[in-house]
Symmetry: C2
Amino acid sequence: MALEQVLVAGGWRDAKAKSTFHAEDPTTGETLEGVFPISEWHDCDDALNAAVTVAGELRTAPAERLADFLDLFAKKIEENMTALVSKANAETGLAAVPRLRDVELPRTTTQLRQGAAAAREGSWTQAVIDTMANIRSHYAPIGPVVVFGPNNFPFAFNGISGGDLTAAIATGNPVIAKANPLHPGTSKLLAECAVAALAEAGLPPSTLQMIYRTSKEDGLRLVSDPRIGAVSFTGSREAGLRLKAAAESAGKPIYLEMSSLNPVILLPGALRERGQQLATELADSCLAASGQFCTSPNLILMIAGDEAERLAADLAAILDQRPPAPLLSAGSLKGLDENVHALIASGATVVTGAEPIVGCGCRYKNTLLRATATQFLANPEGLQREAFGNATMVVTAQDIDQLRQVIGALEGNLTGSIYSSKAGDDDTVYVEIASELRFKVGRLLNDKMPTGVALSPAMNHGGPYPATGHPGFTAVGIPASLLRFGALHCYDNVRPDRLPAVLQNKSPNPAMWRRIDGNWTRG
Amino acid sequence: MALEQVLVAGGWRDAKAKSTFHAEDPTTGETLEGVFPISEWHDCDDALNAAVTVAGELRTAPAERLADFLDLFAKKIEENMTALVSKANAETGLAAVPRLRDVELPRTTTQLRQGAAAAREGSWTQAVIDTMANIRSHYAPIGPVVVFGPNNFPFAFNGISGGDLTAAIATGNPVIAKANPLHPGTSKLLAECAVAALAEAGLPPSTLQMIYRTSKEDGLRLVSDPRIGAVSFTGSREAGLRLKAAAESAGKPIYLEMSSLNPVILLPGALRERGQQLATELADSCLAASGQFCTSPNLILMIAGDEAERLAADLAAILDQRPPAPLLSAGSLKGLDENVHALIASGATVVTGAEPIVGCGCRYKNTLLRATATQFLANPEGLQREAFGNATMVVTAQDIDQLRQVIGALEGNLTGSIYSSKAGDDDTVYVEIASELRFKVGRLLNDKMPTGVALSPAMNHGGPYPATGHPGFTAVGIPASLLRFGALHCYDNVRPDRLPAVLQNKSPNPAMWRRIDGNWTRG
């Protein structure tokens, strides 16, 4: 079978590769069609050179053209929905319907269209004008962006079609996508849509490039190359930290989304009021996508007592009833089992599950572990290991003070949820718990599970290290997510006709917000 | 003589130190009064613990109180002007008048008052409200900030009184200042003003702490300690990169201002029109503060020819006429001489200067070096070494294309200036040169020297690596500089009465700008 081509330096071409790989159907373990190259450095090098050239061209491209591309790309994804959903389903085991077709694909096209709207409006550049001093500044493109997509969102976080690509393009930067090796066929189909959209929008073909896979060493070399502007990565903590060290040693900003337990705290009044309902809500959230969301709840915190025991029992019963969904790959299954057993080795006890389902593809029993807060506090590192998949852990504290200590011992997380009594019974406790939790998480929720990450301008899909690499940036939410790929450009005493249009006295675009002499204005 | 105390954990106290140091008058080399401790880790550890506690208290402190402190601190600095100016003059050799009294001290108090105004107004938090989804976000304090101040601004960039302190406090973070060892007495006087202002404003005394000096190892340990939120550093590239590696390996954001050549490009038309005037402007800028500004022009680029020769000769003549001002220390003198000779070893020739002035304190002859663009392009690393002090270098290119190549070979810089003909003779060339320079610098200037860094909301005192560590942040310009010390906090479905006041539907402050459903509004 012919080797698939890479998208490098202006179009599809033969990869320079000594080795190859293929995708597998995780529900059956069978090898899927298509042989994909593991590129040597040569492909990266060519992609980097092309990216530098095209970055120069994009700087002068009108935002309207970037926006047209994003809109056209969304349309082409919709036109190819059937093939995309079928391929992604085969490569990831994620349900074709509703997940891939009705949730993730529309999320992806919505992101692209929001990016298009943001590029057109231009407010993301945060133009600031000091008319008295004749000093002006705004965010401008940072340079070629390398995007590493994760395994768990074949469309919405794919390096060639997801939120990072959207943000990088909307800010005027070319992208080198490193496809996730678990779904290369999906990435190829998406890249074909992108190539067609680029041509139709009249953008240079090298605006987007894609390599399927490289050696680890070449991956590190890529993110520390002087020709790039920034990196974004979504995936495991281990790989993320390796890339972080490489990129930062070369002075390159790298935006990471690495790991998160997403603690859910059920206060006593909430348990009393609606414990049974909360067990169902928790099970729904923990099992969504077989627990393979960045925001999946891995840690459920309660005060010990009858209500906590009832919730744990209810939750275990639901987990036992629900049929386990396939995991993303054999590697995901292995990783989940290892992490569950590492938690057990750190003192967690098994309520249910904690073993693979034999002869049924990459499936794991829905798993509930338990530990006490005393155990947790004695070994916070061992007991806050992320088990990515359909497993979660209940930790019970003796009292509110010990609960507060557990929260104080948490690493940085993407999210933290607090459920409290609707009648107000938990209000005093809430203040204490929330003030401790607030500085440990990027997004604080009330009476809501963390697994929905709305495409809202107010969203923060980010948080303190090691959930991400910097607590000031978000990967979801437009326009805020665009700022990751902006460099601050100041113009001091520059002659009026030489200023970028967005910094001239007369706005080129009545829809764009600008801060002029301290006031946000538009029109 | 008694050992000076450190400001740790709530007040002045004896340091835990095995060794000591003292300041010197760089104009005479004589030892100044005061013996200062080189703290052991114990002092850092206590400061870190106190900072964690006080960070929790500051989170609930009203912004009004932070603002009051900044205003009171400014007032106390003014009240102690005479003592401050006299001490800073003795420790740095910078002119008491106008530099210290009439320029840097007012700059410092203006920064503090701008920080106070920004804290009061609250717009810096960039509150974003999505009313439909009930998701809200804003920037909140990042956690204790460690500030390393440089040697060249004893007031305006001092860790205990400068722009970084102002930004960290205005965003609600406690500060641990690492005083610069060249001006410990000035730092002590400033810290005394700060302590009095804290008490008067009713803020906890541990809001500000100061240590004079530590071992290198303890400095690295400090910036990688889990208890801190972020670090800011202004100083040499060597020290900056060491701290960067340490902080980033622990996942701590670090904002650096490390080095910059600040290229000044004189296009042919400008040279023809006003070459003589430009020579004077250049000399003024290069010799300001004896060339010890971060934005001092170290590199002057021209097209070879009669006009360029005339400018170089005029500039050399002015440099020869002007009496060299003292450098900041014996170390500064040694560093400058080493760097000048490294440039010479890389091929630069000496037009004038290039040696210390014997028997006259820490003074160096005003120095002009020259190289051709061909030399520069053959050894861009060797010839773009920063010589911090009263030295600069002219590089002449054969033509515009070679000039463009030189710019293309530049590392990241804080600033880049282009002088062009007022009659329009350089307009075509300008476009080509500016588009190459734009992505190498944080601030692009026209017909203006880079050494004035206005306290404007549109200022960018930042730029691409290695001028700084991240091209999206600025160290000067309020409110933008505050974002370095903010973490993005999102509230998802949080009950109205539990939201921070700035995110509630009704604004607590009619002056504050917020983005509600896509529109910036206030009132």
